[in-house]
C-alpha cells in the first residue's frame, strides 16, 4: 500500500523511534563507546582500546559470571516452569478452596523483591532461621544457606522460584482453560488415560504458553539484582555475583565505568545469542509442525 503523503509512515513511527532511540539505542551506543575507555565518572576518560575486554577475559571474570548467571537461570526457569505447570494442573478446578490456593500461590509474585528477600533472609538464617530450626528438629544438620559458597547461588535461585512460580501457574491456567473440553472427551473415548491425555492433548496445546513462560522467566532471571543485593551482596566469595550485579559492582563499588561497559556489551551479546537460538528453534518448530 502506498501512502498518500510519503512522510506519513515516518511521522507515525517517530514517537516510538524517538523513545527507543533515546532510551535504548543511544545508551547502548554510549556503553559501547565507554567500553574502550578507563573512566571513573569524576576524572576525564582515558582511551585504553580493548584493554577492558582483555582484562575481563584474562581474569576469568567474564566466564565465571556467565557460568553463575546461566546456572542460576537454568534452575529458575526449569523449576518455576515445572512447578507452575504442576500447580496449574492441580488447581484447574472449580471451587472456593482452589480459587483461594491459586490466589495464595500467585500473591508471592506481586510482592516486591526486596520484601521477599528480607522475608527469606529471616527464614534462611543459619542459626535462628525457620528452616534451620526445622532441620534441627528433624535431626538434619542445617546448611549455611546464604554463607556457604557452594549453596548460596542455589538458595537465591530457590527464592526466585518461590516468587515467580505463581506467574507461571497463571499463564498455564489460562492456557489450560483455552483447551476445548471436546478434545479431552474424544481422547477419553478413544481409551486414553490421564497421562496419555496430558502427553498427547494437554502438553501440545500448552506449548505456546510454555514457550512464553520460558522466555519471560529467562529474561527475569537474567535481570536478577535486588535479591542478590539484599541477601548476599554477590558473596560469599563471589558465588552469587551474577551479571547485573557484577556490572553494578564495577560502576558503583570499583569506580570502573569502562570495565562495567565491557561487561554490559558482553551481556548484550550473550542475550542476543540466546534470543537468536530461541527464535531459530521456534521457527524450526513451526516449520516442522507445518511439514507434519
Amino acid at each position: 500500500m502506498k501512502p498518500k503523503r510519503p512522510l506519513d509512515p515516518y511521522l507515525f513511527l517517530a514517537p516510538t523511534a524517538l523513545v527507543l532511540g533515546l532510551f535504548f539505542f543511544w545508551p547502548l551506543a554510549l556503553v559501547f563507546k565507554n567500553s574502550f575507555y578507563r573512566w571513573d565518572m569524576l576524572t576525564p576518560p582515558e582511551w585504553v582500546g580493548t584493554a577492558n575486554y582483555a582484562q575481563i577475559l584474562a581474569s576469568g571474570e567474564l566466564w565465571g559470571t556467565i557460568g553463575r548467571t546461566l546456572s542460576y537461570s537454568v534452575v529458575v526457569v526449569v523449576v518455576s516452569l515445572a512447578l507452575g505447570l504442576g500447580l496449574a494442573l492441580a488447581l484447574d478446578r472449580p471451587g472456593k478452596l482452589y480459587a483461594f490456593v491459586r490466589g495464595a500461590v500467585f500473591s508471592a509474585y506481586v510482592v516486591s523483591w526486596v520484601a521477599v528477600a528480607l522475608l527469606w533472609m529471616w527464614i534462611l538464617d543459619a542459626d535462628g532461621g525457620l528452616l534451620s530450626t526445622l532441620c534441627r528438629a528433624m535431626g538434619i544438620t542445617p546448611k549455611n544457606w546464604l554463607g556457604d559458597p557452594a549453596v548460596a547461588l542455589y538458595t537465591l535461585a530457590a527464592v526466585s522460584v518461590w516468587k515467580i512460580t505463581g506467574y507461571s501457574m497463571v499463564i498455564f491456567l489460562a492456557g489450560l482453560q483455552d483447551i476445548p473440553r471436546s478434545l479431552h472427551e474424544a481422547a477419553a473415548l478413544d481409551g486414553a488415560g490421564p497421562f496419555s491425555r496430558f502427553l498427547h492433548v494437554t502438553w501440545p496445546m500448552l506449548r505456546p504458553s510454555a514457550s512464553f513462560v520460558g522466555t519471560t522467566s529467562l529474561i527475569l532471571s537474567f535481570q536478577a539484582f535486588d535479591v542478590v543485593r539484599v541477601m548476599t551482596q554477590g558473596g560469599p566469595v563471589k558465588s552469587t555475583t551474577v551479571f547485573v550485579y557484577a556490572i553494578y559492582e564495577h560502576v558503583f563499588v570499583n569506580l570502573r565505568v569502562g570495565r562495567a561497559s565491557a561487561m554490559t556489551v558482553a551481556f548484550f551479546v550473550l542475550l542476543l545469542g540466546l534470543t537468536a537460538l530461541q527464535l531459530g528453534s521456534w521457527r524450526l518448530g513451526k516449520t516442522g509442525a507445518r511439514r507434519a
Binding site: M41, T141, F252, R256
Partner: protein, 423 residues
C-alpha cells in the same frame, strides 16, 4: 458553570505540567540559607544526627540544614559520585577517610577550612593533617565527623563465669576464644568464642599488629608483606583449625550487623567491631557488655575509621554558607561531645575532650575510654589516591575468598598486590 476542555487543552496542560515538573527537578539547590546534608547512618546514630540538625535549625534562623538519608557509606558514596558527575551534589556530606584522597585528586572537594575556624581545635589523630601521601602544603578538604577505631566487645557474664580476661596478645585471643567456644556432642559449635567481619579494616589492624603497613609512605601497596600473610593466616587458623571464630555471612555492613546480632543473641562471646556500636550494644544487650582494646602481636596497632565531612565542588554555591555554618557548629565542643557520648564515636574537639575528662565522664563510662586510649596506637592513614580502590577492589573480595574458601594466604595477597597496582 461547566468548562469543556478540548483534547488540545488537555495535551497543553499535560505538557506544561511536565515542563514545570522538569524545571523543578532541574532547579539547583533550595532557598537562600538552606543546604542539604547527605548522611549515611541508620539506627541510633541516625536519630542522634537528626536531633543535632533539628537543634541547629532551631537555635538560629539564618541557615537551615535538610538532612537526607542515602543508605550506608558505600551506597551514599555511589550516589555522591553520580551527583558530582551530574553537577547536583549536596552542599555537605560525609565520606569514609579512604576515599578522601581519591575525591581530592579528582578535584571534586572544596577546602572546608580556609580560615582555620573549623578544624583548629580538633584532636590531631582524627583530622586530615599528616594523612596524605606526599602531603606537603595542601588545603584542608575534610573535617572529622564520626571517627572511630575497632575495639573488642565481650560478654561480661560469659567471661566472668569462665574466669576469662580480655586478650592482650594474639596468643591470648586464641586461648580465650577456645575457652569461650561451646560445642554440642556432635561437634557442631553452638557458641563461638570470637567473631569479626572479614573486612579490610580489621585485617589492616591485624597487619599493623603483626608489624606491617598496608600502604607504604610513598603510596605503594605492599599489603603488609609477611605481616599481611600472617594476619590472614591467623584468621584462617581461627576459622578452620580452631573453629572458634565465626565469619559472619553477608558483605560490608550486612556482615557487621550480623556480627552485632550474633553477639547480642549470645551466639558469640567476643567480637571486634567499631566503637560506633558502643551505645547500640550497651543498650540492646541483655548482659553486661565489656569493651577492651584490640590485642597486639609484635606491637599494638589500630587504624582509625569512620567518616569525614566534605563539601563537594559540584554543590550549589548558594547552599555553601549554610553548610560551612553547620560544619563549624558541629566542631564545637558541645556538639562534638554530644555526638560522641550518645553514639560511642570519638570526641573530635580537644576542648570538648578536656571537658569530658574534667567532668568525670570517662570514670563513669569506662567502655567509652577504650577507643580514646587506643588512639596512641593508631597510625595516620597513608592517603594515596588509589587507597579506596585498593581497599574495595583489590583486597576486600580476596580476604573473603582466602578465609571462607581457604585459599592460600600468600597467593591471595600476591594476586591482590597485582590488582592493587593496576591503573
Amino acid at each position: 458553570m461547566s468548562v469543556r476542555l478540548g483534547r488540545r487543552d488537555a495535551l497543553l496542560t499535560l505538557a506544561s505540567s511536565f515542563a514545570a515538573l522538569a524545571g523543578a527537578g532541574c532547579a539547583r539547590g533550595g532557598k537562600d540559607g538552606e543546604a542539604s546534608l547527605w548522611f549515611a547512618y541508620g539506627g541510633t546514630n541516625r536519630e542522634v544526627l537528626l536531633s543535632l540538625v533539628d537543634r541547629f535549625n532551631a537555635e538560629q534562623t539564618t541557615y537551615r540544614i535538610k538532612a537526607i538519608y542515602q543508605g550506608d557509606y558505600f551506597e551514599a558514596l555511589a550516589k555522591l559520585r553520580t551527583a558530582i558527575a551530574a553537577r547536583a551534589a549536596p552542599a555537605l556530606t560525609h565520606v569514609v577517610g579512604e576515599v578522601v584522597p581519591y575525591l581530592a585528586q579528582a578535584g571534586t572537594l572544596l577546602p572546608v577550612d580556609e580560615a582555620n575556624h573549623v578544624t583548629g581545635d580538633i584532636v590531631p589523630a582524627l583530622g586530615q593533617t599528616g594523612c596524605f601521601v606526599r602531603g606537603g602544603e595542601r588545603p584542608i578538604v575534610c573535617a572529622p565527623f564520626n571517627r572511630s577505631t575497632p575495639i573488642a566487645y565481650y560478654n561480661r557474664a560469659i567471661f566472668d563465669e569462665l574466669g576469662l580476661h580480655p586478650p592482650t596478645t594474639w596468643k591470648e585471643l586464641e586461648s580465650v576464644a577456645r575457652a569461650a567456644t561451646v560445642r554440642a556432642n556432635d561437634g557442631t559449635v553452638t557458641r563461638h568464642g570470637f567473631a569479626c567481619p572479614i573486612d579490610w579494616w580489621f585485617w589492616v589492624a591485624l597487619v599493623g599488629q603483626a608489624g606491617g603497613t598496608v600502604v607504604e609512605n610513598d603510596g605503594a601497596p605492599s599489603l603488609g608483606g609477611e605481616a599481611g600473610v600472617r594476619a590472614l593466616e591467623f584468621w584462617q587458623r581461627l576459622v578452620h583449625e580452631e573453629r572458634t571464630m565465626k565469619p559472619p555471612p553477608g558483605r560490608d555492613y550486612n556482615a557487621w550487623q550480623a556480627t552485632n546480632t550474633d553477639f547480642l543473641a549470645g551466639r558469640v562471646a567476643m567480637i571486634w567491631t567499631s566503637t560506633a556500636f558502643l551505645k547500640y550494644l550497651e543498650t540492646n544487650a541483655k548482659f553486661p557488655v565489656g569493651a577492651a582494646p584490640l590485642p597486639g602481636d609484635v606491637r599494638k596497632s589500630v587504624p582509625t575509621g569512620g567518616t569525614m565531612f566534605v563539601i563537594p565542588a559540584a554543590s550549589a554555591e548558594r547552599e555553601r554558607p549554610a553548610a560551612h555554618a553547620f560544619l563549624q557548629w558541629m566542631m564545637l565542643p558541645r556538639q562534638a561531645n554530644e555526638w560522641a557520648t550518645r553514639t560511642g564515636y570519638l570526641p573530635v574537639s580537644q576542648k570538648g575532650l578536656a571537658e569530658l575528662e574534667a567532668s568525670g565522664y570517662y570514670d563513669a563510662h569506662p567502655n567509652d575510654r577504650v577507643a580514646l586510649d587506643q588512639l596512641k596506637d593508631a597510625f595516620a592513614w597513608p592517603w594515596a589516591p588509589s587507597l579506596f580502590r585498593i581497599q574495595r577492589e583489590a583486597v576486600q573480595p580476596r580476604l573473603e575468598e582466602a578465609v571462607l574458601a581457604r585459599r592460600d594466604a600468600r597467593a591471595t595477597l600476591d594476586e591482590a598486590r597485582r590488582a592493587a597496582r593496576e591503573p
